[in-house]
Point group: C2
Amino acid sequence: MEKVISKATMSRFPTYLKALRQMALEGKQNVLSSELYEVTGIQDTTIRRDLTYLSKDENFGKPGKGYSVKHLIDGLSEVLGVGLESPIILIGVGNLGSAILKYNRWQYTVGKIVGCYDMDRNKEGELFGVKVHHIDDLEKTFPEDCEIAILAISQNIQETVDRLMDLGVKGIVDFTHSHFTVREGIEVKPVDVVAAIQELALKIHSKR
Amino acid sequence: MEKVISKATMSRFPTYLKALRQMALEGKQNVLSSELYEVTGIQDTTIRRDLTYLSKDENFGKPGKGYSVKHLIDGLSEVLGVGLESPIILIGVGNLGSAILKYNRWQYTVGKIVGCYDMDRNKEGELFGVKVHHIDDLEKTFPEDCEIAILAISQNIQETVDRLMDLGVKGIVDFTHSHFTVREGIEVKPVDVVAAIQELALKIHSKR
DNA sequence: AAAACCAAGTTAATTAAATCACAAAATGAA
DNA sequence: TTCATTTTGTGATTTAATTAACTTGGTTTT
């Protein structure tokens, strides 16, 4: 009997992982749900409930002692697909694309950008150790088993998305400022500065 | 009696706005909730309910006809604080910071980056038309009425956040990969590629 | 070894969000 | 003008998520 992890819980996991890694770096061995609350602002009882999804086996958290930071990191990493080493491609090597690519040596791996694509022929070659192809060669050079694409372009967006889906991409990290549609079952995760600022502005505003 | 806008609704507004702007660009005058569903994947009934938060006055949506794209954009823009022209500062002008700054000429303004700060003295001067100060001069040069800061640094994070809060910053757009704590009432909006990929990986995974 | 304590885990209650189902309103055709 | 059609807007309902209350098991102290 598989427990199904709720959306809300899922969206909190990365937060926990981030906080725990910081703690691990500081040499912390054990952590209480109340301490995680201090750091994340998420209610301790919510945290404990969330963490039960990880504890397939015995004693994850010990009463009176807390959780082992290491165990939590391991559990979260597993469920979050960290270390999955799944190949990721990046579409668009402009300013933003480059910045993302530079980040590719992520502190804690969630996969690796194995190829980039751009519509500018001048960009073909290599960048930060990753091959840059022309977008026309997408189908020819598409990496096997690639399921995640990062979209950092501003033109031909829908067309590109369609091609990606045809190639079997299942998840898109969306840095574009435009809207596009995807087929049933394809996940899109927008990452948008403007939207972030808008939400902030609204929240700050609505407090008065 | 003020209607209080729910968190969930709030987080969908930027999505609507994005979609509607695309439609406006394409010359669309009216839009049905069912059409917005097609584009956003959000249930039409949810959309209609969300939009009621905008309709302070009469006939926003007309039965049999739909909503005026323009009216919706206006309403959303207002509630989202678009065109607020509030001053925003950017901390960290590295690769990512530069990319964000370049985007500053946002298609639809939500405010403007009026100043940047970096710990590298060599970066002092101007970049994409915006003044770059040394981080030591933060207090000296902090723009009046600035409530939002974009954080794109990788060092001295907590210290910087503390200084920002002391200066009256109410919202932080967080591009760092580290955890920091804020005082009660300060909003943090994380924007994180790694977290996005992790969530995607998890969602894709959990479907099998 | 017993007592006292502490914090995880869990069941139950509450609150928030999404969806359903339908009534009312505008439109357009006959 | 009237009637069928379409689509909004909103109570009512269901579902999901959070929070509160309590139980249990492990730890530490005496």
